[in-house]
Symmetry: C2
């Protein structure tokens, strides 16, 4: 078991975009009845099945396995609830850490979120000038929640 320790922020400007390289992510969730999530993700040409436990602050247990792309396509088509999450993930270095900036599409168009993985919950990280409000513990901004109801301020079609 890995423990994912992560902080998430809303992004407030485009200043992160210079030289950032992006990859297309498409992911969905098998509907669970508690806070455990079961995610199917296609990231570029790779695919993963990921189980995450309930959040405890900024930490969650995470179990991730690479799976065949065709399995992920089948599960996204047949088993994951609608709508799927579509986003482009950009890798951005700042202050010695690798940040992921997610530019959401489809139902969550307009939402841009940045996240950074910590080595432990007490780790202090310098915050880039292009992040604003921290939403680490706001359940509305979990990707699994975004596939149920779009983020505040975005426009569902």
């Amino acid at each position: 078991m890995a423990v994912e320790v992560e902080r998430k922020f809303l992004v407030t400007s485009d200043d992160w975009r210079a030289n950032a390289t992006g990859a297309s992510f498409r992911q969905g969730y098998i509907d669970t009845s508690d806070e455990t999530t079961v995610r199917v993700r296609i990231a570029g040409d790779a695919a993963f099945l990921t189980i995450k436990g309930p959040s405890e602050g900024m930490s969650r247990a995470e179990f991730e396995y690479p799976i065949p792309l065709s399995d992920a396509q089948d599960m996204l088509r047949d088993l994951c609830r609608r709508p799927l999450i579509e986003k482009t993930r950009y890798d951005v270095s700042f202050g010695g850490k690798l940040w992921s900036v997610d530019v959401f599409g489809a139902e969550n168009s307009g939402l841009i979120m940045a996240e950074v993985e910590l080595d432990h919950p007490a780790e202090s990280v310098p915050l880039p000038p292009w992040v604003g409000e921290e939403v680490t513990e706001d359940p509305r901004y979990r990707n699994s929640a975004l596939s149920l109801s779009p983020a505040p301020g975005t426009q569902a079609p």
Copy 2:
């Protein structure tokens, strides 16, 4: 994606037991809100994460991945709903097919079920004399249901 095509029967006698070899299974389910199931199974020293789609008669989509034993132990302990399913699975050859005879323990003590995988839904298989009522399409006898409420006729402790 594999498609699992399976028929299940209640077992009515002990005549299958001669020479049958058994392995301990311990499995649990991440609680889902529809008929998709997410199963964590420890079978002897091996472990698997299995996603199954809704049943269509005797067929279900099935996606199965070997996972580290310690991951399965963690997920069974922390993420799967109670009670877990405990059973001993015996492999029994009959009429050219390999049958699995599951002798349930814990909350489902007293339940013995036999299942056989078919190559296609129309395949005709000879039925062993030790099977009785067919329960293929009886949702109460799905293992995922047995972990919610014990089988008819068994004694919850």
